[in-house]
Amino acid sequence: MAASVAFLLVVLTFLIIYPAPVSSQSNLQSQQLTKVIEDVLKAESAGARPDEMAKLAAGLNDVLSLENELQTPQDSNKAQPTSQIAVELENVDTQAKQIEIIAAHRTFENQIRTYLLAAFASFLATIIAHYALLLRRRERVKRVLRMKIVAR
């Protein structure tokens, strides 16, 4: 009994002296920023257009401006920009995800269109080749029919 109480006391003392490590706000923000950048890059690799990427880049640069405001020593009200940064990052992330879906769909459509176009081109090429050969054969037949047998 005494041993278990002593053990409990030791554990409690340990927990009081060594609190659980908590990530700093800037660390959390840098992790969030990395996640947003990853999503933006996913949208880009999915085939987002330059104008869509410009919108995302502008949103991220706005986040940087807010972060600069936060770092300015004169700024006394720091709580507002911090929450604004988080909201702005969330907005960019949502936009990036939407753009990724649209871009992926567009890229898929474009690929299908290209492959169908290639199939149609090969069909046309086959028809052209077929009629070209046919025409050539006809010309040959005509030439043969026009031939005269001359007795020597």
Binding site: M53, A57, N61, T114, A121, A125
Partner: protein, 211 residues
């Protein structure tokens, strides 16, 4: 018009398949992104936005309170959007510059930095307007910049490098890129299997009066 009967169609099938393979191969090659060399173009322009007129009156002797305008330009050729940080360091002649072999940054202290997101194939131009607001000179003849203004921000420099008489100061501009793996800026970027760095430096001398 010649009717396409079954025999003709059977004869045309190999021709069609040959064309199909040929055209689809072309389509696949055209739609597959090609591996490209990934790099940044990094340069500094003078007050007029050209590679000239870096200093007023073409003299690198700078007086206190004399504003100097440069433009830091970065072109992203990394095939994707990049998060970059241009770090500005103030150095003298003895402090080490970035090492292209070991890919290590300069040992000079960072006085300012510019973080930006830059799209692929886009040019970023950051105005770098600076002036030395105050510098001290000791009896031994060594000088030290104590107050520097970059843009609208005034920096009081605590550990700025000193410079003995007739030596020069320099600004070292380093290009850092965000690493997604480590969630922090890194000095070098990857181009395939090799790492590359980009940095620039511009020298200047301090003068109390007109040179």
């Amino acid at each position: 018009m010649v009717k396409l009967n079954f025999r003709r169609l059977r004869r045309l099938l190999p021709v069609f398949l040959t064309f199909l393979i040929l055209f689809e191969t072309v389509a696949i090659i055209a739609t597959t992104p090609k591996p490209r060399t990934r790099f940044f173009e990094f340069y500094v322009l003078g007050a007029n936005g050209s590679a000239a007129d870096y200093y007023p009156n073409n003299s690198s002797f700078i007086q206190t309170g004399q504003p100097i305008t440069w433009f830091l330009a970065v072109i992203n050729r990394m095939s994707s959007m990049q998060f970059i940080d241009i770090r500005v360091r103030l150095a003298n002649q003895s402090l080490t510059a970035p090492n292209d072999t070991t890919l290590s940054p300069s040992s000079a202290p960072v006085v300012a930095d510019f973080e930006r997101f830059i799209q692929n194939n886009q040019t970023l131009k950051v105005p770098f307007i600076w002036q030395v607001q105050n510098f001290t000179t000791t009896s031994q003849g060594s000088s030290r910049i104590v107050q520097l203004q970059i843009g609208n921000v005034t920096y009081s420099l605590q550990n700025a490098p000193t410079c003995v008489t007739s030596c020069s100061f320099r600004f070292i501009f380093e290009l850092w890129t965000w690493s997604l793996e480590s969630s922090q800026f890194q000095f070098a970027w990857w181009n395939g299997n090799e790492q590359q760095i980009a940095w620039l430096q511009l020298w200047f001398r301090l003068t109390p009066g007109v040179p």
